[in-house]
Symmetry: C4
Subunit: 200 residues, 4 copies
């Protein structure tokens, strides 16, 4: 199967999975039923950490989708290991709603930031494995400079180091973890890094 398969069905399947992951998390945002006598603002208050963690996870997943989009735009054909690298990545992404739900329910416990950090770490790590595989094999379009790819992989490594630190440093203070969780999206919003260096 290796050489014959175009990327469109991997992209469609990944888009489907990511669309579902990013959307079903909203289902945890819900006023508890049966306490209509409590003022709505009181009922909304425990939803606040859920809303914040939802927003952060939505943002991170959106960045991952943009990166996924960009990576597969550069791939001209797929083989079986690439299929499995992609599935490996989707597996860790699929755990984001679970980690988001946990941190939304217990925002100030270091176990929550540990779980949240580990899941994001594994996502970033899976991205790095996928990119490294593409670099080793000849599946990328010829116009993509390997130096630019290497630079992105270094950035990826930085991202997953930050996530790992965030996972652990929650035991010092969960607020350090929250700060670090915000650093990675900020890193990816500095546009020049990706746009110019990949040369596309």
């Amino acid at each position: 199967m290796s050489k014959l398969v175009p990327t469109n069905r991997i992209e469609a399947f990944s888009d489907g999975v990511i669309a579902i992951i990013i959307t079903i998390m909203v289902f945890d945002l819900k006023l508890p039923e049966g306490n209509e006598h409590i003022s709505m603002w009181m009922a909304l208050r425990p939803l606040l950490p859920k809303l914040l963690s939802y927003t952060l996870s939505f943002l991170v997943l959106a960045i991952m989708w943009v990166n996924h989009h960009q990576i597969f735009h550069q791939v001209h054909q797929t083989d079986r290991p690439l299929l499995w690298h992609n599935i490996h990545l989707l597996f860790w992404m699929s755990l984001i709603p679970f980690a988001t739900n946990t941190i939304g329910n217990r925002p100030l416990q270091p176990e929550s930031t540990l779980l949240y950090g580990i899941v994001f770490f594994m996502c970033a790590y899976a991205f790095t494995l996928l990119r490294s595989y593409l670099l080793k094999t000849g599946l990328l379009h010829q116009t993509i400079s390997k130096a630019a790819q290497q630079k992105i992989i270094r950035k990826n490594r930085l991202a997953f180091s930050i996530y790992l630190s965030a996972a652990i440093l929650g035991y010092v203070s969960v607020y350090i973890s929250f700060l670090l969780f915000l650093v990675v999206p900020a890193m990816y919003f500095m546009p020049e890094a990706i746009v110019h260096e990949t040369g596309d």
Copy 2:
């Protein structure tokens, strides 16, 4: 990445997200289990506001999908800011099930109409930002007249002003809000406005 990317994967991803948003709301329409001894009509009665808010949200989301469909049909290529304008729009759309659930549970509280109105306001606002960005840049097909686009943006502004009013006026009477929520879909069903003026 900016100039090379076609719109098909943005469209596919957006279709996926909107399809999920529009569909998962139905999961809140459910008879409570465990009270099979109550007559079904009694059990259905608290579902009535949920059914109405579901229908309204379905309608509004369908209009948004039709508009999204129409906008991206006119875009010939995407860049990174457009990607993020689209994600911004999808974020606010993804909160519609939450707002629908809230207004379905507490239909007569002004806090519910406030939340529902704000979410729809932000969706309409995100649409306007996206359209304005497209007008400023050269991403639209040449055949689309800018005057027609300007007219659509004015209509958008009207829509989000109505949503903002509905959000606030619920504190006078929630029924005023309900009425205003119906006005916007009605506006979009007057076909001549869009069909002729965009010239396509």
Copy 3:
């Protein structure tokens, strides 16, 4: 917008919505947690009507998808009314999980078969409206004979009459309704009707 739009994005969006509708129903099939001391067969027993209604709804939705697939395969371009006929159809299809959940929870109450029957009736009716609209306008490929289309519309009318009868006759006996709900899928499995008469 009317004449320029190809059908692929309607098809993709509809596929997404139908895929979600057909799949999320399985989420009601769940052993209640917290009674692990009860034998599993005892716990599974109340799931039996849910499993049966899930299977029937899955089958009916699959038939609807096959028909939708067939209809849009014959359409060469879309306009705004067609878009809205399709959304109208998807709206009623989106209520199938709700009706399925209701009949699964209260299988022997005529109110359940009424609700289930009405939702399926409205789906079949929406299909007929959509087909009639296509016949009136020139959106079909020229090779499709109008006589064959008329025959399919007559079959559709038969289907929605059966659903309407099933909805009402539950007040005589729910088992009559169940029988009638099975008749329509059986009708659609007789292959010659569609394959030969549409001439494609």
Copy 4:
């Protein structure tokens, strides 16, 4: 309809359904709310079997998606029976979240491994029916050797025999079942079997 229909819409619909099935299972991974006073590790402990069964089901579904991908890559046109073979397969796949939820809740009961085994058995069986149908008819591309297809069908038969054994042997020991559930994915990871023998 038989001869005219390309495979892209079957693939898109199947991708949608499989993407949803593989993703919604994560919704069962959730800390129970309302016991924030319990240490998180205590709260996570009952989640462990759920996490393991989620991982296994994710893996098996991913293998099924890869196989589905590979099969339909070889099909050049579809007919109505193929459509229904595919729907039959998707039906059994759609029950995987239910079986996963059951085994996650009651991991050590042979009834759970029975249910889990039967659902996987039926999926593997549905795959075999689909492949056999493709072999009998002329829907495959000419370049695919029938001998290679036969070999894959033999492998499929081995897989569903193992699932059937696993389903039954849980009554001896559920650990035998768990071991057998792991054997099939392992079988499919031996790359040479598929890559070379199908000659593509």
